[in-house]
């Protein structure tokens, strides 16, 4: 049994608030503690999601949040895994709980973001692929998203109207989400009339960067039982696998892939039949002992509208090339067969990197408890998250009731 209990969740609303990330993190932490009915002095482990944009306090986020909440002697850890930071932080907390070394862990991620394209660190950094892709190619994050989108068009017949339909759906999903930054209906024509950033993606196909914070109180099942949490939402799996060689799909921020099949016979690794993103979800299913057919809803990383369609296939929710058909049939809308991004997704939130994977977990928790007011997936019992970030990071978390 490797399950742990989600005792409480909390968030600071996403937006462009222009305040310190610590303030958001403490707000979310207090909300999660209140939701759990756990007093801060009872927390014996704090895990922070690192933010690379907010100075030293961001590099040691676990300690920063612990100090801001008032030193209570808890153990501390800080995780960084790009977009998967929150899931890795959660995994760190889970490991200590399952080892019997901690009973109650508080996991917090928060960020304050700049305007516009995410750019690399300053200076001349000729050994940093994240710097080189801008200097040598002018390759921004949306350009990577656009490569994946274009492949869907050329290989599977997707259209810009399909991508726009993802935005329309997610905008509608997020209308009543109190933590969403954008709560407004969007018409397909609005998406298609917005400026093209990286062909075929328009401005409204691409997620913004946001300030925000999310927190989760994680406990052992024994602790949950002893503290009148009779039927908590459980963490069934946390996958944070890395790619396997050769990773043959171009990933941000790389300028190239591994060589597929150029090694001489006898020097090849076992043939990996799954792409990296497929393996992220596969490992989560294996750990939970379930399959895609058991899932009631999914929160996936829609950095672009088209990426949501990729993730549906990567998670096995449909066959390769069939995501548009599900979308068009309304299967991924709340009320449909397999609702995707009922929170409104990144389309309604924008990305707050160290908080985002935790925000996905918060949403699944509310959905599985039946508390997702205005966006509830009726009868949801099992939910899955997925995301991917730079440098071989990615995550998938499975929760069930």
């Amino acid at each position: 049994m490797t399950d742990v209990a989600i005792a409480g969740v909390g968030m600071h609303p996403w937006g462009k608030w222009g305040r310190n990330f610590v303030e958001y993190g403490v707000h979310a932490a207090r909300a999660a503690l209140a939701d759990a009915g756990v007093a801060w002095p009872d927390v014996d482990l704090v895990v922070g999601g690192e933010t690379v944009r907010n100075g030293y306090g961001g590099y040691v986020a676990g300690a920063t949040f612990a100090q801001a909440l008032g030193w209570n002697g808890a153990r501390v850890a800080t995780s960084y895994a790009a977009c998967a930071t929150g899931a890795q932080a959660l995994d760190t907390a889970r490991a200590r709980i399952l080892a019997g070394l901690s009973d109650v862990a508080l996991v917090v991620g928060a960020d304050t973001t700049p305007k516009g394209f995410l750019a690399p660190n300053a200076g001349e950094r000729w050994d940093d692929p994240d710097w080189l892709r801008f200097r040598l190619l002018g390759m921004t994050n949306p350009a990577y998203f656009a490569l994946y989108a274009r492949r869907r068009m050329d290989l599977y017949g997707a259209t810009p109207a399909d991508f726009a339909a993802v935005k329309v759906k997610n905008a509608r999903h997020g209308l009543h989400n109190p933590n969403a930054r954008y709560r407004k209906e969007v018409a397909a024509e609005d998406v298609l009339a917005s400026a093209v950033v990286a062909d075929p993606l328009h401005l409204l196909d691409i997620c913004a960067t946001s300030d925000g914070a999310a927190a989760v109180v994680l406990t052992s099942l024994e602790y949950a039982r002893a503290h009148r949490l009779a039927d908590p939402v459980r963490v069934r799996a946390i996958s944070t696998v890395t790619p396997t060689f050769p990773n043959a799909v171009l990933d941000m921020p790389n300028l190239s892939t591994d060589p597929a099949g150029s090694a001489q016979p006898g020097w090849s690794s076992p043939v990996e039949t799954r792409t990296f993103k497929e393996s992220i979800g596969h490992a989560a299913y294996e750990e939970a002992g379930i399959g895609p057919e058991d899932v009631d809803l999914a929160e996936v990383y829609d950095l672009s509208t088209a990426l949501e369609l990729d993730w549906m296939e990567d998670l096995g929710l449909c066959k390769r090339g069939e995501a548009e058909a599900l979308l068009r049939a309304g299967d991924t809308t709340i009320g449909g067969r397999i609702p995707v991004n009922p929170s409104g997704g990144l389309a309604c939130f924008g990305e707050a990197v160290p908080a985002q994977a935790l925000a996905q977990v918060c949403e699944l928790t509310w959905q599985l408890r039946g508390q997702a007011e205005g966006r509830q997936v009726e009868g949801a019992r099992v939910g899955i998250t997925a995301n991917q970030g730079l440098f071989g990071h990615g995550s998938s978390v499975i929760l069930s009731r």
Binding site: A119, G138, T140, A143, Q264
Partner: protein, 155 residues
Amino acid sequence: MTDTSPAIDGWFTTGPEPALVGSRCTTCASTFFPPTAGFCRNPACDGQEFAATELSRRGRVWSYTDAQYQPPPPYIPRSDPYEPFALAAVELPEGIVVLGQVADGYGVADLAVGREVELVVETLYADEAGERTIWRWKPVENPVVEPVETEEADQ
């Protein structure tokens, strides 16, 4: 202008038939680009020596896009006002997909997944010392002939 030189040393050759320069592991023959040194990244191989090797000059488009907004620094725009350019990820016979800008005069309308392209070297930007060049992918005008013939390579 005083001279013309690559924007980065050792990644590509210049001349009439320019090519990317990869690193071939002398133990397992895995070929990497950009050039690498130190330890082979094939987990089944403990090789530590590499030989510089020119990669195929032609490949097929894996996907493509463009940059309609000016990228942030350290990108150095070549013109003011900014002029958009196209980008392509190209699958080489070596099994590597390599990103690059698309040659001057070509845009997304000239590309398709699977289309054959050829490596050229063009100006990326100019600084006080002269023009800095970069590899680019140029659509092959007649994509029906056998790949990697040399007859039209110096067009």
